[in-house]
């Protein structure tokens, strides 16, 4: 499955070679990435705290959407970004659809496993909303901050 990557608001089909994937079990058993690029694969029912130690050593974390309705990975992604300060790639795997991709990006995902032909639809979905109400992992300013800025500018 190709990966669509989001960087500085632009979505492109990645030409990168796939990383070597390691599971949390393998990490716990002592497997350590050496040379090349590595991705840690986390199921959506694990506490991401258990992966905290591994984060500094991997280039990507892969989170799962077994079905689009199962939204646990949204919380996992935010925790990785906001609590554990993870700056590497967070990639969505599984049922990754156009109509959820904006929520994913806001939660901290910046890579999506999807067909190449999905790219235009995904890009459109990512730009459908220009205002958000709440702060999340994407750094978008919530409406209340923009209101405050507008007031300050007017004063």
């Amino acid at each position: 499955m190709p990966t669509l990557k989001l960087k500085d608001g632009v979505l492109t089909v990645s030409a990168d070679r796939p990383e070597t994937e390691i599971t949390l079990e393998a990490w716990r058993a002592g497997a350590r990435p050496e040379g090349g690029r590595f991705a840690l694969v986390l199921p959506n029912d694990v506490d991401v705290a258990e992966a905290a130690e591994a984060l500094a050593r991997v280039d990507a974390v892969i989170l799962h959407f077994p079905v689009f309705k199962d939204g646990r990975a949204y919380s996992q992604a935010r925790l990785l970004r906001e609590r554990y300060g993870y700056r590497g790639e967070i990639r969505a795997r599984g049922e990754v659809l156009r109509d959820q991709v904006l929520f994913m990006a806001r939660a901290g995902f910046d890579a999506f496993e999807a067909a190449e032909k999905d790219a235009p639809g995904f890009a459109e979905a990512l730009s459908e909303f220009s205002v958000v109400y709440q702060s999340a992992a994407d750094g978008a300013l919530p409406a209340w901050r923009r209101r405050a800025a507008a007031r300050a500018a007017a004063a």
Binding site: Y74, S75, Q100, E128, V132, Y133
Partner: protein, 551 residues
């Protein structure tokens, strides 16, 4: 009331545009019904027995006359000339055509309304006390907090695919008119030490097939932390709520499986980590939103009105309507006027376009342009001068809206039932109509006093039968409709779940049985005792006996 600024307006307009695109993809065949379903469900569009049903949010039950007129317009132009007000301060249209829905949403966006998150496994419309800002017993106006929660929950990126739907209710009075103890989260604004107000946080209540009364997990939360605290609750639920079984995925199951103390500890631990993470909005934003809910320009009036008293003495119908439907206001010389949508013989909660327009006119002329929708499926004019009540009553009478039965036996809460809903086992509306006609005709309704009857057409309990003083549940027995009676429920501050009373009854038996219950109560009651009080004193068996007395 709240008014959209450019940011609120942009979000709603962009949502309509997005949904228009989704509908176009469906109509062109690019999307199958299966693929379209989750998308339409995120926007309150259900496929029912006969047609699509569109559910429109009325945030915390507050409408301007302009908004209510627009709801009437939608009913007339895109539906069959009426709408159905629900128990969660929404309005439902039962007959829109799919191709029209984007235009309906645009028409609603023109008056700052939407159908966002009125379905789907997300945070639904925040509901509140219909008397907010007018009630004599409220600690402070809960509506600014409802609006703050509405904005925070709208398109929340982390909480749009929860294990199951999620309902929040807020009240600010000791008398709970918002049923907060049977919501996923119930919030009660109250005074704490030093006179500051904060929230009591109740989690895990709910009805449906496994009803629970919620547990208080925090007695007092400083108000300014409400969003971070909600976010902590939602995160614990999103990560740990069950997803393997639709019927066990509400937060009430998680809270009661983990135990309320354990659940609370998880929430508190999460909150400690996020309370300073830029989730709570600053004081200036709270104040900005509060300003929209400043009290209207009430006149300084005497507490009593001579013309009002004279009209009561002259017109017995008016006098009764005042006794039953009118409630004390916090400002002298004003009153809260309830508008019953339970005219006996009509489907509970339905209003025609003409009726909506009549109430909109009255709201504009006599209630500072405000109309409220109640969780008991009625409307309300929150700020009417006593001097004007007679004029209001006469206009309501003209519109067929002067039923004097709010809180009485014929003020029945009922789901749409088998007449509309494809989940239902039995019809609800005809039972409600038959009961209401029976009680209204008896002339004893007012004497019976507060008697809450709730009817659900299946165990999903949309008619909230568990919290009716008398609850009626439709069941299917070998292809025939039967009705099971529950007794002793309450959704108010003394919340309790009704207990099942014996075998099911046929549709012809159930009306007689309820009448026997009322008669039994009347015979046994003590001075000033409501039906529910008498039930609690005499016990389940005594009342259960009355159901089958002559059967």
């Amino acid at each position: 009331m709240y008014r959209y600024d450019e940011f609120d307006e942009t979000i709603v307009r962009e949502r309509v545009k997005q949904f228009r695109g989704q509908v176009a993809r469906r109509l062109s065949g690019e999307l199958t019904e299966e693929q379209f379903k989750p998308l339409r469900l995120m926007n309150g569009l259900y496929l029912q027995l006969h047609a699509y049903m569109l559910r429109v949010a009325i945030p915390y039950g507050v409408l301007s006359s302009r908004q209510l007129r627009r709801l009437a317009h939608v009913a007339r132009r895109y539906d069959k000339g009426y709408g159905h007000f629900t128990t969660r301060q929404n309005i439902q249209y039962n007959w829109p055509a799919l191709v029209d829905v984007p235009d309906i949403l645009d028409a609603l966006a023109d008056v700052e309304m939407h159908a966002i998150q009125t379905s789907g496994n997300c945070i639904r419309n925040v509901t509140s006390d219909q008397y907010a800002g007018a009630a004599a017993d409220e600690v402070e106006d809960p509506r600014p907090w409802c609006e703050i929660i509405r904005q925070w929950s709208t398109f929340h990126p982390e909480f749009s695919y929860l294990p199951r739907k999620f309902k929040i209710a807020v009240t600010a009075s000791p008398h709970d008119r918002a049923a907060v103890k049977v919501h996923d989260i119930g919030l009660i604004l109250k005074k704490g030490e030093g006179g500051k107000t904060g929230f009591e946080v109740i989690v895990g209540g709910g009805l449906g097939r496994t009803p629970y009364i919620g547990h208080t997990i925090r007695d007092f939360l400083p108000k300014e932390h409400i969003l971070s605290y909600l976010e902590a609750i939602m995160r614990v639920y999103n990560l740990n709520g069950r997803r393997d079984n639709l019927f066990k995925s509400r937060i009430k199951i998680l809270v009661n499986t983990e135990g309320p103390e354990n659940f609370r500890d998880q929430v508190e631990a999460e909150w400690e980590k996020i309370r300073d993470c830029d989730i709570d909005i600053p004081r200036e934003e709270i104040e900005r939103i509060k300003r929209y809910f400043a009290p209207p320009a009430f006149e300084a009036l005497p507490g009593e009105s001579a013309s009002f008293e004279a009209a009561r003495a002259r017109d017995a119908g008016f006098d009764r309507w005042v006794r039953v439907n009118v409630v004390a206001h916090k400002v002298p010389g004003y009153a809260i006027a309830n508008v019953s949508l339970k005219e006996p013989g009509r489907p509970p909660g339905d209003a025609t376009a003409e009726q909506m327009e009549a109430v909109a006119d009255l709201g504009e002329r006599f209630s500072f342009d405000e109309i409220r929708v109640t969780h008991e499926q009625n409307l309300c004019l929150p700020h009417v001068r006593k001097d004007d009540l007679y004029a209001v009553y006469q206009a309501l009478k003209e519109a067929g809206l002067a039923a004097a039965n709010v809180g009485l036996a014929s003020d029945i809460i009922a789901c749409p039932g088998l007449d509309y809903c494809d989940l239902a086992n039995a019809r609800s509306i005809p039972i409600a109509q038959a009961l209401a006609e029976r009680f209204a005709a008896s002339g004893e309704e007012e004497d019976l006093g507060e008697l809450k009857i709730n009817i659900s057409g299946c165990i999903n309990a949309c008619g909230h039968h568990h919290i009716g003083h008398i609850g009626i549940l439709g069941v299917d027995k070998k292809g025939e409709e039967f009705y099971q009676i529950t007794l002793g429920g309450s959704g108010a501050e003394d919340a309790s779940l009704g207990e099942i009373a014996g075998r099911g009854l046929s549709s012809s038996e159930v009306v007689d049985a309820v009448e026997r219950l009322a008669r039994f109560y009347k015979r046994e009651r003590r001075e000033g005792e409501r039906f529910l009080d008498a039930y609690r004193r005499l016990g389940h068996d005594a009342f259960k006996g009355a159901i089958y007395a002559d059967a």
